[in-house]
Every structure is written in structure tokens, then in C-alpha cells.
Amino acid sequence: MAAFEYRQAQEIRDVFNRHACRYLFIGKSGAILLGFPDTTQDADLFVERSTENGRAAVAALRELGFALTDIQAGEIEQGKDFVQLKNGPFDLDLIFAPDGIERFSDAWSRRVEVEGFPVCSLDDIIASKIASHRQKDLESLPRLEAFREYRRRNA
């Protein structure tokens, strides 16, 4: 599979909007949308957990070309904490309960829009990386925090 592309991010944005699905780009893919220069492999979406939003997410994912069985669709509608999709045109992680962020509505209120892409604030992205305690996330923290400082100075 090829690397995730800008065009595919646009497709996510447009198709999720069409299905009125509420989500935010999170993780390093979110930071990259905010201007952080680094590398990553796939996109991470923080999806609001509700039955209605889950159904909208499933409809959007199917329209994008993800081959979801009914059981898999049900798990997304149910809003399992973490869903990893590698059965579509690109890899995608759906996160319904990211570490370090209490409620979707809080993150939504702090979101940043970049060319129509809804993105978690850098504070939320950093908070989730700190709370994950993962080696790879903690290693990226000093540079992410420096980027946050850079943005503050240039706001």
C-alpha cells in the first residue's frame, strides 16, 4: 500500500462531512496538519462516540472503500475504544477514547480548522501522547513541545 496522501485526507474530510460524522484528526497526523514537520505512517481519527455518529462513520468509511463486515461495522457503531483499519484504500486508526482527553466535546471546542480539516489542538495531541506512556510517543514529545512553543511565538 502506498503512503497516505493529501488527496485521501481531503476524501476523509469531504465524505465524513457529507455523512455529518463528527471527528478530529489526532496524533502525529493531526500535528502534521498543524504544520509539525515529522514523519508518520497513517492517519488517526478521534471519533465522537454515539450510536448516530458511529453509524455515520461506518457509512462514510464504506463510501471511502473500506470493506467492513457487518460485525466490524457494529463494533465501530458501538464505539470500541480503538479500531485499526487496514481493509481500505489507506490505513486508518479510529480512536473513540484517546488517553489524556476526557471528552470529545472538550476536544471539539478546542479544535483547530486547517483547510477544513478538523484537528485536535496541539495541547490535546501532546496530552494524549504524554498519557499513552508509549516509548515512541515520549520520544517525540520534546520536539512536539518545541513546536507548540514555536506556534505560540508566531500566533
Binding site: M1, A2, A3, F4, E5, Y6, A9, S29, I32, L33, G35, F36, P37, D38, T39, T40, Q41, D42, A67, L68, Q72, E75, I76, K80, D81, F82, V83, Q84, L85, K86, N87, D91, I95, A97, P98, D99, V114, E115, S132, H133, R134, Q135, K136, L138, E139, R143, E145, A146, F147, E149, Y150, N154
Partner: protein, 66 residues
Amino acid sequence: MKIPQEWLEEFEAAARRPLEQRMRYAFIRTYKPVLDDAPFRSFNTMEEYRQWCEANLPDWLGYGRI
């Protein structure tokens, strides 16, 4: 907070690039053993996911907790 000069130059260079170009530079594709070997996985809780990563993924991928 002091931003290392090298990082500052990278941030400034990135800020001059359009988003499409930034994304082209940022997204790469490499095979991740085990992680990439199933078309779909789901976990009831993040803790369950973290434990699965620690039990199944090679340490060098960096998914383990410190």
C-alpha cells in the same frame, strides 16, 4: 523554553510549504511486522490495546509503555 536552532529552522521551513507538500514529506510507508498483518482489529479499551501491543509487537517498534 529554548527551541534548538535546527528544529527552529525546520519549523520555519515547514511553515513556508503548502499543506499538500508538507503531507507528501510527512507520510511514509514501511511494513510494520504483526501490526500490518491483519485487515481489522478492535479493542474494547485503550488498556486492552496497549497490552496487546506489548504482548505481540516487537519492542523496536516503540509501542511498549515506559
